[in-house]
Amino acid sequence: MKIVWQLFITFFNIGAFTLGGGYAMLEMVERAVVTKRQWIAKDEFWDMITIVQMLPGVFAVNTALYTGYKIKGLRGAVAACLGAIIPSIVIILLIAVFFLDYKENPVIERIFRGIRPCVVALILSPSIKMFINAKVNWKTAIFPIATIVLIYFFKVSPVYIILATIIGSVSFAFYSQNRLNKSKS
């Protein structure tokens, strides 16, 4: 029970004090669970993170869940997860209550008129970086282009596009693996 509580507190601190979420918090998690408490070995931690990065959902939540699970099973997972999200929920609720009351305020409105174009840039940048990172060429360009056309012009839900991509690439991977096995034998 003591460890479950410590897990909650550890992730509560991380949730309350890391700005930018995700990768910014990894170092703090490592320091807390590997260096300070020595709950898991360093290699084991980073092996786990490699897998957690592939999963759908909020990365910080997944990190908390898997770290908690490794240390103290399902109870540890739930405790770490709650610790990671409760500070967010409380702080955001306070801001939301305040913001919805004051957003008509002329000063706030002026500030946000300046912020909105910056937010556009903050979203545009990772998409371009990901195009480069994914090594999109003339052949594979069809996939992002199709995605953009389907969502922007035909209002197809991203959920269906991701689902179709998973089904498509899993079947293609099976197909090419089979062909590889046949040509070997």
Binding site: G20, L55, G57, V58, R116, P117, C118, V119, F143, F172
Partner: protein, 179 residues
């Protein structure tokens, strides 16, 4: 009805939210702005900025904030829990399967083929936000300060390791001074 819609929207995002924070953000935008029309793109941009500046995971911040705006306190709880729930359920499955197959060819090739699609997904979110509401002074005979803010922010965040929060604060200050 609105509670069920919030639950369903965030459950889908929790299940299919591959590709990190910005991919999730564009899915939230599709559901909340395009699909249900619960808020405008400007309101959404404000929430993105506030969620970035607040400690904690951006996905959780977004779910709580949009949930509160749409359905009050219970809306925020429902949105956040629906987003987290699939991760919790996936835990047991992943531990059994993925940890044993992490070098599996099919898992790897599926994940790498998702990257270009996710890049497109995030690009659309940015594209949709380029609207008159977010660029209030865009036009031939106007001063286009919003365009300058966007361009400078893009260059800064793309080419340097500057903290996005600093850019948000600086842009807010520019907005306060010029508008």
């Amino acid at each position: 009805m609105i509670y069920f819609q919030l639950f369903w929207a965030y459950l889908k995002i929790g299940i299919f939210g591959f590709g990190g924070g910005y991919a999730m953000l564009s899915m939230i935008q599709f559901e909340i702005v395009d699909h249900y029309g619960w808020m405008t793109l400007e309101e959404f941009a404000d929430i993105v900025a506030l969620s970035q500046m607040t400690p904690g995971p951006v996905g959780i911040n977004m779910a709580t904030f949009t949930g509160y705006t749409v359905g009050g306190f219970w809306g925020s709880m429902l949105a956040t829990l629906s987003l987290v729930m699939p991760s919790l359920l996936l835990l047991v499955f992943v531990l059994k399967f993925l940890f044993k197959n992490k070098d599996n060819f099919i898992v790897k090739s599926t994940l790498s083929s998702m990257k270009p699609v996710i890049a497109g997904l995030i690009f659309v979110a940015a594209l949709q936000m380029m609207n008159p509401g977010n660029f209030t002074d865009f036009g031939l005979h106007q001063n286009n300060i919003s365009v300058i803010i966007c361009a400078v922010s893009f260059v800064a965040v793309f080419f340097t390791k500057i903290n996005p929060i600093l850019l948000i604060i600086a842009s807010g200050l520019v907005g306060y001074l010029v508008y």
